[in-house]
């Protein structure tokens, strides 16, 4: 690798080493730097796709075998930074982001055009789109555009939204710790006075006004804004962060189309929207190369800031006076960072195309700043910066006024087992779709707006789609979650065994029988498929026996011969009372007798031989034809909300037994039952 770097540097310091005449000979032996970049890009793209493919449980060679399938998500520093803001902690795997951060500080924004799989896809489509275009047209396409600052504002917006809990803590100081608040105010005023006296601050009057304004704002908001849940951390970076975005898109829209690489056809409710966003992002490359990267990508913005003062950077060499201003370096510039002029370091994604295309070998990757001058940081407008900051601060509280995290929580939002309580969950969930891909039963789906705008694409369970309910012995989703929004649980904890016996199993919700749709409840038909499939022991679904007189079921006894009764009344359905579920009932005063029907014609029934007619009905008396039903009931104490009953219910449209989130373990306030210690 060391050698590979030397070629582009031949016109800088290293040129002395090799001498100008050596350069062409070297070039034939060494790989061009852009070739190295392309190989790296293809490698990471294939690695990423491989990780997506293997995120499946099974025994085939291409299924999960301890591959670090979250590795790219963990390398993504926006995930790490945003969750650090929202949770004030760094979940173990996200420590990988430190590697990226350190490398970015040393090398610059390398991730975008060397690692990022989304970037690679854009890069390739952009390349295809500009093929055949004239050099001048391509130069025009790669001109810097002020709209490239949008991504920084988006980053600020998203990070401020993630920092909601920090803000909440700050506001709470005012009413809850007035002494601390007063101390901070006094010390900051004293500090200001001191600094003014020492003449460190040029304009003490202006500084004092600003300080008093900030204190007033803090005091006012602290007293006015209630602490309850509205001002809270909400992780929304995943909407635009390229790594979660591309994971989500591949997992939920592309891989399900390739049915052969899954054991059964996977469906994802609402995946069209994810696909539309993905496709739009890709198609925008036809307009401007790397449109997404240049204008929208918040991760790119973060790298832009981190890499602004990187040790190595692209720039024109000492001999830049030789630059003929041909702008050929702009021809394939991926970042639109104007390498020929004041290079914008924060926009440069180190595609190295400029070094390749400069006919005079003037552009290099070196430790010194560009001779042609450079702009390290993006020149953001203070006004827009503040607007983003304020918008990010107020967006989440306004969204939460819907009450979906509070009293208006939606019972249809059933989270996977191990999911944190909703406020904490929303502070961690990346919407990356890894849990949706790994779920062996395909019951985890991207939420629409059920859990609010903030919960878009977060995981919810759907028991109609998929191959079963939540499998009792499966904890895959909780172990794949890269941010512990679904925290890693053990099987013992899920099933309430061992040390968790006291706490009981993890409940995702509770099943409710819809008596208006249930066959035994509403339609006089035996069924109890739900009871049969309830996987817990003892079963959470139990039945009560009920004899229901069938429609028009009163008949007059015309004749009795052995076990056969001839009946007067409407025609009986030929043979259909012989299923073992139908009975003849007689009433003798208060006493009821029932005989199981073994056979029937349209005018007679024969009861089973073993059921002697000892209290035989009298001639001309009336009997009833009854069906024995086992009607299902749910014991909320035992139901874990796994949804297997809902999945199996033969009422295949709107199921007659359905799980909703009541009584879920993660929200004690939604408990159905009185809790006794």
């Amino acid at each position: 690798m060391e050698l590979l770097w030397t070629l582009p540097l031949q016109n800088s310091e290293d040129s002395n080493l090799y001498g100008a005449h050596c350069a062409p000979r070297l070039a034939s032996h060494l790989m061009r730097i852009v070739t190295v970049r392309r190989i790296t890009q293809v490698f990471f793209l294939l690695l990423f796709i491989w990780f997506c493919v293997v995120t499946t449980i099974g025994v085939a060679w291409w299924q999960l075998r301890g591959w670090p399938v979250n590795w790219l998500l963990q390398l993504d520093p926006l995930v790490a930074v945003a969750t650090m803001l929202s949770t004030q902690s760094l979940y173990w795997g996200l420590l990988w982001a430190l590697v990226t951060v350190v490398l970015t500080i040393i090398l610059g924004r390398f991730f975008c055009s060397w690692v990022c799989p989304f970037g690679t896809i854009h890069h390739f489509i952009g390349y295809l789109a500009r093929r055949g275009k004239s050099v001048s047209a391509r130069i025009a396409l790669n001109k810097f555009h002020p709209a490239q600052h949008i991504k920084y504002y988006l980053l600020i917006f998203l990070l401020t939204a993630a920092a909601g809990s920090l803000l909440s803590n700050l506001l709470r100081v005012v009413p809850e710790k007035p002494v601390l608040f007063s101390a901070v105010v006094i010390f900051s005023l004293l500090g200001l006075a001191m600094l003014s006296l020492l003449r460190v601050i040029p304009d003490p009057k202006k500084a004092l006004v600003t300080l008093l304004f900030l204190i007033g704002l803090w005091l006012g908001l602290g007293l006015l804004v209630p602490a309850a849940g509205l001002v809270a951390a909400s992780l929304q970076t995943g909407l635009l962060d390229p790594i979660p975005l591309v994971h989500r898109s591949i997992n939920l829209t592309l891989l399900p189309l390739a049915e052969r690489i899954s054991t059964s056809q996977r469906y994802y409710f609402g995946s069209w929207f994810i696909g539309a966003v993905f496709l739009t992002a890709l198609l925008l490359n036809l307009r401007v190369p790397r449109f997404y990267c240049r204008f929208l990508c918040p991760l790119g913005a973060l790298f832009g800031v981190l890499g602004a003062f990187s040790l190595w950077r692209i720039g024109a060499a000492e001999s830049s006076t030789e630059c003929s201003q041909c702008h050929l370096c702009d021809t394939d510039c991926e970042g639109a960072c104007q390498p020929a002029e004041n290079i914008r370091i924060s926009e440069c994604i180190l595609c190295m195309n400029c070094m390749d295309s400069c006919p005079h070998n003037l552009v290099g990757y070196r430790t010194t700043t560009s001779e042609a001058g450079e702009i390290a940081l993006p020149d953001l407008s203070r006004r827009v910066f503040l607007t983003s900051l304020v918008s990010g601060t107020v967006a989440i509280p306004i969204v939460r006024l819907e009450g979906l995290v509070g009293p208006n929580w939606q019972p249809s939002v059933i989270r996977p087992p191990g999911a944190l309580a909703e406020p904490e969950f929303l502070g961690r969930c990346l919407k990356c779709g890894q849990c949706m891909r790994i779920c062996p039963t395909n019951i985890i789906h991207p939420a629409s707006l059920d859990s609010g705008l903030e919960g878009l694409w977060s995981p919810v369970l759907n028991f109609r789609i998929g191959t079963s309910g939540c499998q009792l012995n499966c904890i895959a989703c909780s172990h794949i979650c890269p941010t512990a929004a679904i925290r890693p649980i053990s099987l013992d904890e899920k099933l309430g065994k061992g040390q968790f016996a006291q706490a009981g199993p993890i409940r995702m919700g509770t099943a409710f029988v819809d008596r208006g749709r249930c066959l035994p409840w509403a339609m006089d038909r035996p069924c109890i498929v739900c009871e049969e499939n309830c996987p817990v022991s003892p079963k959470a679904i139990f039945t009560r026996e009920y004899f229901s007189t069938v429609r028009g079921g009163a008949y007059r006894v015309l004749n009795i011969a052995g076990e056969t009764l001839e009946l007067g009344g409407p025609d009986l359905p030929q043979g259909q009372l012989a299923t073992g579920d139908y009975y003849v009932m007689t009433t003798h005063g208060e006493k009821k007798h029932r005989w199981r029907i073994a056979q029937n014609t349209s005018t007679s029934v024969t009861v089973a031989a073993s059921e002697s007619l000892h209290a035989a009905p009298e001639l001309e008396s009336y009997i009833s034809i009854q069906v024995k039903l086992q009607r299902p009931y749910v014991d909320p104490k035992l139901c874990i909300g796994c949804g297997i009953c809902e999945h199996e219910c033969p009422v295949s449209g709107k199921r007659a037994i359905r799980v909703t989130a009541e009584n879920e373990t993660r929200s004690p306030e939604r408990s159905l039952l009185v809790r006794r210690s």
């Binding site: 449980i57 062996p440 039963t441 498929v529 009871e531 049969e532 579920d581 297997i644 033969p650 295949s652």
Partner: protein, 331 residues
């Protein structure tokens, strides 16, 4: 002006050319419309796939054989049971292609006995190969997620280690069938693909409590061959089980009553639902096997209506003693 003049000179030729092109398009549009013209609209008849019928896998010369072995070791018990019938060679000949229909309905570990015991599967597959079978296929259409079921029940690993092939059902494996003497299984999808080229079928099921039908044993286990939304048949459970027994005529059935699920069936879920009943039943009569199995659950034939119904349908005998079963104790 000049151009216009030129156009004038070529006008006729241009027009004829355009006329020709237009004519071709008009002609194409008309023919396409004529070709695709549909005066009636879609009718009521739906496309019906060709029906398939499972062949009779039973061996007429071996009717009514039964062996009941008591003992706690499944491997030992199945070997002895087969020995009393002349060894598995009586049923499986050289070059036979055998299908083992196991019960893999639930994604639960084998210790909970809700599914066919994996050791038993391995042993039977092994014996089949020893008798010269050319292939052994293990299949079921489970209730829980199929892949999870075969993995967690241990059946996949056991079968594969014995050299048998596990076929996890896919949409394309199903074909409709009709049981001619029945009323429920009419043009209903069954797990057909695994039966391709098969000439021997062995049904293998555990003895389990079942709330709706009373017990789930050999005959109920054929439910796992049905596809579609088969749960609707629970409305008439005794009829569907009888029809399933009509549909499948196995070479041999193995009813594993080593550990019976006494309560909370058919899922179980707790060791307290189980009881050691230490019995292995091997028979060529599935009705007799179930009739005996009922006794392990403390039930009688009269409690399980599908048994007398299957008997009266001529599928076997509920009076298993009439078959003079060989009784052996290996414990």
């Amino acid at each position: 002006m000049n151009q216009r003049a030129q156009q004038h000179t070529t006008n006729r030729r241009d027009f004829l050319l355009r006329l020709l092109k237009g004519g071709i398009f008009i002609g194409a549009a008309c023919s396409l419309s004529y070709w695709l013209y549909d005066a009636a609209g879609p009718g009521v008849v739906r496309e019906v796939k060709d029906l398939v019928t499972l062949p009779d896998f039973s061996l007429p010369s071996l009717k009514g054989k039964m062996s009941i072995v008591t003992g706690g070791d499944r491997t030992e018990a199945i070997r002895r049971a087969l020995d009393t019938m002349g060894g598995i060679e009586t049923f499986i000949k050289k070059g036979d292609r055998v299908l083992l229909k196991v019960n893999a309905a639930f994604a639960t570990p084998p210790i909970l006995s809700a599914t066919t015991n994996p050791q038993l599967v391995a042993e039977v597959a092994h014996l089949c190969y020893k008798a010269g079978a050319s292939s052994v296929v293990v299949t079921d259409n489970p209730i829980n997620d199929p892949a999870s079921c075969f993995a967690l029940t241990g059946i996949e690993e056991a079968a594969t280690s014995a050299g048998a092939k596990v076929l996890v059902p896919k949409e394309s494996f199903f074909q409709p069938t009709t049981v001619s003497a029945g009323v429920l299984i009419q043009n209903w999808p069954i797990l057909w693909e695994p039966f391709q080229k098969i000439n021997k079928v062995i049904g293998m099921a555990p003895v389990k409590d079942h709330h709706r039908s009373g017990a789930s044993m050999i005959m109920k286990n054929w439910y796992g061959l049905l596809g579609g939304r088969r749960n609707i048949f629970h409305q008439d459970i005794n009829t569907i089980i009888t029809e399933l027994a009509m549909m499948v005529k196995p070479t041999l059935v193995i009813l594993d009553g080593t550990t019976a699920m006494m309560t909370n069936g058919p899922t179980g879920g707790s060791l307290s639902d189980l009881k050691q009943t230490n019995t292995m039943i091997v028979s060529t009569d599935q009705v007799a096997a179930d009739a005996f199995g009922a006794t392990l659950l403390g039930k009688t034939v009269a409690d399980l209506l599908y048994i007398p119904r299957a008997e009266s349908a001529g599928l076997g005998t509920a009076d298993y003693e009439a078959l003079s079963p060989v009784r052996v104790n290996v414990s």
